[in-house]
Symmetry: C2
């Protein structure tokens, strides 16, 4: 099997990017209608077949990936980017296992949201349906090709994938295997399409293909997401990063505060759920221990004047620090006077991803939950739990920080919409 | 009370449209935070006070409306537009009563969507919260000023209103009364703001105020909605019109078919839920009566060759007719061979608003409900039931034909989003 065998039609040299997207979009929409007619076991079988095909295609996929890695080295990609790009047998097995896992998640399609019998005698209900054709624009991690395709297919959506140029051979090989698997299980190949070109104009055509593509999900760094949001006419489910706060209230358990602050910042510093700002209540007696534990483990702390007074190792924070997502072992620290001051700081600086309080006072906890207007608000837990898997969703396409359609961890339900069903017995409206 | 008294600050001549929207947007967001802290009875009291203020301001509002109507006559507005614009004591009483009615609807804010206890010991739940600041861009009907403000306020949202120039004095007078009422009940005036200018550039600035305005709802004709969709960077909840089908299946009850087709087309021809295309199954024996009843009542029918053969009064349809929303006593009629042909016609031509089947065969009905991918799918009922009030929602801000966030009739729930609440006992992530 050639790595590009599944790209149905090569890009005709005379075809404009808009014409190509229109062609792929129509093919995807047609395939989605078939997909919408499949029941949950049929879709699960297709995904299990895709996972098996990924395992069988290990030699081709790893060879394709080696080409990408070699090109990346030649082009001077950073070690971090090369690590994101690189596949080995273990990582590929993980990608296939994730596809199997998505196959076994409950199918959201057909679920009844609510139902109502009306005075007119009409029975009205809302049921979940797929969104339609979803465009995914992503960067260097080739696992997104399989993850996003699996989540879309499980929820009855067709998908149009556009990965980063650094991973082009890896993505084509993974895509070819996925298509081989789903076709063998009776799903049209066009349910999972990969753009046959890395031409940037094709991305622009995707973003403006309103009516043809129903939703765009950008997955990558801030610059990618910002570009997609600026250019898109198609609705965007945006996965931005997190400037997340943990507020240690006066009545926090000191040991819990130390453990949660340490975990929220240092468990993994590069994920969007990591804490970026620590707010210490002036009346909390354990602040010295909280900052000492972080400093002792190599975290750089940047504080306001009162925070700096806690430990000589704390450097001064600038105004920008309160609005900075470090994604590193760096943390801004402020001392605040009570809950209201903490809420005001969070309202002013949070990116509305995940904010947490540590307190033993239930009334304070409930006020924090009520008044913090972020996608995820936590009490007495590490912000690093902000994850679809940890929330029991089985998988996630990302964390949405926008306010519409879906918010916080977005999984299969977020890839559906609904329709209203009305069952009558001949009613006409007076 | 002057009709413009409530416009807090006049437009400084040196202020750019962007600066003005930023100023109003910040004020609206601040007011929304206060609004979000009010409980359901407090919001209801504010709306009842607003309704009472509308009644008290009847002389001012009707005088302002008379100015608009006179200007409209001088500017040659059509009789239909003048009728939409014109207020009298009865219509104003209806507007105030609608505000009272929205005040008494259940408050969606705070409702728990779902809750889950996880193996980590975390308790995760999703609760409804307001969206934030909503922009409404609308045309000549001044009742939208009160309706939209009431729906937004009931659901805890601040609103920024921009009405049509034809209704500028009416809108200012209605807005002034609303603000007088809510302020007396303790809600900040900036929770309901009306743009102090009709400058079109200000609309452009609203549409691009991402991060400041959370959602735009255009209410008006297709050209307004299309312009908003083309220019907006802020998410748009679009209320388009309907190319709605009624398919009369072979097993339809003939009398029911006549009654439903007649009602779906002719009860009110100008609403978005009216039928625009009638699909008659070739095997349905009652087609003659269905078309005769419509023709006898003055409806123009445009048919394909087989439909024309039913009655000499049926004119030939052109290709465009199948994609035309008449909003008039005109109907396109096609004869189709069975359910699959009807589904294919609907998939090709429906605007995904509301489509209906008339059939006595439950299996056929369920297939139609399952396979038609429109916001509202009906069995044995008139498409004119497509309405938030008829669906038991109490009121609606419109019918959404987009696929994301909210679909079909959109009422208070569609004006909310959710946040995730996580209650822990000191959990850190391993």
């Amino acid at each position: 099997m050639s790595a590009t065998a599944s790209i149905a039609a090569p890009l005709a040299s005379s075809e404009t990017p808009e014409a190509m997207i229109a062609r792929l979009g129509r093919a995807g929409r047609l395939a989605q209608r078939t997909l919408a007619g499949l029941d949950a076991p049929a879709k699960a079988a297709a995904l299990h077949a895709a996972a098996a095909a990924l395992r069988r295609a290990e030699p081709e996929i790893l060879a394709a990936n080696a080409r990408d890695v070699a090109a990346g080295q030649a082009n001077g990609l950073t070690a971090a980017l090369l690590d994101r790009l690189r596949l080995d047998a273990g990582r590929l097995a993980g990608i296939a296992a994730a596809v199997d896992q998505v196959a076994d998640l409950p199918d959201p399609v057909g679920a009844v949201i609510d139902a109502n019998a009306l005075p007119s005698g009409l029975a009205v209900s809302r049921v979940r349906v797929p969104i339609g054709l979803i465009g995914i624009v992503y960067e260097s991690r080739p696992n997104v090709t399989a993850d996003a395709a699996a989540l879309c297919l499980r929820s009855g959506n067709a998908v149009l994938l556009r990965g980063g140029s650094e991973a082009v051979h890896s993505n084509r090989a993974i895509h070819a295997a996925l298509v081989e698997g789903i076709v063998a299980a009776g799903v049209p190949a066009e349910a999972v399409q990969l753009l046959p070109t890395q031409d940037r104009a094709a991305v622009g055509a995707m973003l403006t293909a309103a009516g043809l593509i129903d939703m765009i999900v950008p997955r990558g760094g801030k610059s990618l997401v910002a570009r997609v949001q600026a250019d898109a006419r198609v609705p965007v489910l945006a996965h931005l990063d997190g400037i997340n706060h943990t507020y240690i209230h006066a009545a926090a358990d000191p040991e819990m505060a130390v453990a949660i602050a340490h975990n929220a910042k240092l468990r993994r510093t590069g994920i969007c759920g990591s804490m970026e700002t620590l707010l210490l209540d002036a009346a909390f007696p354990g602040s010295l221990s909280v900052v000492a534990r972080l400093l002792d483990d190599g975290c750089e702390l940047r504080g306001d004047a009162r925070a700096q007074a806690l430990d000589p190792r704390i450097r001064p924070a600038t105004a920008e620090d309160w609005d900075t997502e470090y994604l590193d072992a760096i943390l801004s620290v402020a001392v605040v006077d009570g809950l209201d001051a903490a809420l005001a700081h969070i309202a002013a600086h949070s990116s509305a991803h995940t904010d947490a309080i540590v307190t033993a006072d239930p009334a304070v906890a409930e006020r924090f939950l009520d008044e913090v207007d972020s996608a995820i608000v936590m009490v007495n837990a590490s912000t690093q739990f902000a994850d679809g898997g940890e929330f029991g969703l089985g998988a996630e396409i990302g964390i949405a920080t926008g306010r519409l359609h879906a918010r916080g961890p977005v999984a299969l339900e977020g890839l559906t919409t609904y329709k209203w069903l009305v069952r009558g017995t001949g009613q006409v409206r007076s």
